[in-house]
Amino acid sequence: MSDLLLPPEQRFADVIKRRENEDGSELSILNLGPTHPATHGIFQNILLMDGERILDGEGTVGYIHRAFEKIAENRPFYQITPLTDRMNYCSSPINNMGWWMTVEKALNIEIPKRVQYMRVIVMELARIADHIICNSVLGVDTGALTGFLYVFQYREKIYEIYEEICGARLTTNMGRIGGFERDWTPLVFEKIELLLKEFPPIWTEFENLLTRNRIFMDRTINVGPISAEKAISYGFTGPNLRAAGIDYDVRIMTPYSSYEDFEFDIPVGQSGDTYDRFCVRNAEVWESLKIIRQAIDKMPEGPFHADVPDYYLPPKEDVYHNMEALIYHFKIVMGEVPVPVTEVYHAVEGGNGELGFYLTTDGSRTPYRLHFRRPCFIYYQAFNDMVQGQMLSDAIATLSSLNVIAGELDA
């Protein structure tokens, strides 16, 4: 187990040497990335190849490192949300909500039930958008462009819902401390209803297209497998862990934002290979749709934000006509809000797994330290282990099914 951690030239020194002595043939080094169409982001894999077969590899990451943790130490809390957007940009509302919940936990703010349900809806929409991309792009990487084009318009529909909620589409910067910036308009609910009606048949068709497709199955079954034991040791979470057969889900283990009110299943796979990851994500989309349905049906009446004038911006009309509101507005915008000295760890189930925020405050306007537990960064180190002995084209499928998002990888 321990030699997996060594750099490749050391691990495979004897193979390289033996080859030289025996027939003088050489192993080749292949750069997969940093800008390769199949990496879907900027990161590099240096692969040691024996013909078409991968002996070993080493990942080089950090090409789009933007020092988010350092920047976060210099910003008031409400200005950190845009940084979280840019981590897993395929499901940025989950990151936003996770961050707000972390801050609210540190500040001991009670959140109204309605806000919690709205957050659940928005997070599940984001999860669907995330899984749509991952699974359809896996199809593209194994040679099936049709499914991708077919389902991608529904990501667009989800983005239109975001747009209606907060005005932004990809990097959403959605919400505030304590709730949402405005109440949802009836149009938001109409659009969600429309999505819930139109999307399921499309997703069924997408599943029909690939799930029992002989070519797709041959390309993905037993490709890039990982055992449950190893996955835990590597710190896997999310769909990639569940594909290996472990039913760990943050939404169930430590329910946040009222997830305990909803009934849904946790799909698990068996062998942890590319095909299982694909199936787990497919099934999770159905579960997400179930949760959204329940949340809409059970949506309670009430305010769309908590009553925390210290942290929640007052309505703009009041700011112009009311001294009190003006003072709060000024203080919040300047970041001068009361912050207790504390530390919290809060995790949400992101598109790729347990997205954690470890926040330490010293009572000043900015975090003393903010660490993001980024699931991608932690499980991507297993990639070399997973593709050893596989063909190059299998590595592409594995990479695609792991859903490595460069923004989250590098922070």
């Binding site: 190893k230 590597y234 430590t254 590098d410």
Partner: protein
């Protein structure tokens, strides 16, 4: 049978005595300090003990406290999670400011590899026994450790940006 907090404290104190200290419950997580020399033993015990079963290493991160005593200027914070009883703990190790060194957790958890490299990259904390301790997100040529508090976020020579009135200086450490 859920794992009680007292059981964790009791079994750790029985086994390691003074090496584990300062048990506090912050929000929903039991937090305690461990001597940097015994971190590997403590984590191994937490992982393998039949009742504790902290099978998952959630997170590793570093912290810098330049104003603290010399012996406590750095810390490494570990979050572990017991999936069977669903209990999280947070372990803190304080390290010397001049030569921050701690044992690597890679023999116990494969996933510690990159997380420790990241901590080294940003804080310069040396993980003894790490198989490949080199920079990961920053470029290899870099000489400083950018998450240390004395490292300015922005180029100090900038004149086009004056944020003093917003409570910011380009050198974020000397911020009053």
């Amino acid at each position: 049978m859920a794992l009680e907090q007292n059981t964790i404290i009791q079994s750790l104190s029985d086994r390691f005595g003074g090496s584990v200290s300062d048990f506090v419950h912050i929000h929903d997580i039991l937090t305690f300090e461990v001597d940097s020399e015994s971190i590997l033993e403590v984590m191994g015990f937490l992982k393998d003990d039949a009742t504790l079963r902290f099978n998952f290493l959630t997170d590793i991160c570093g912290m810098h406290f330049p104003d603290a005593d010399k012996s406590r200027q750095f810390s490494v914070v570990y979050h572990m999670h017991n999936w069977i009883d669903n209990v999280r703990i947070r372990i803190k190790c304080y390290l010397n400011g001049d030569a921050p060194e701690i044992d690597s957790a890679t023999p116990l958890f494969l996933g510690a590899n990159w997380q420790e490299r990241e901590t080294y990259d940003f804080y310069g904390i040396i993980f003894k026994g790490h198989p490949q301790l080199k920079r990961i997100l920053n470029m290899d040529e870099m000489v400083s450790f950018p998450m240390r508090k004395e490292f300015p976020m922005e180029d100090g020579g900038r004149t086009d940006k004056d944020d003093r009135f917003f409570g910011r200086t380009t050198d974020n450490y000397t911020q009053s």
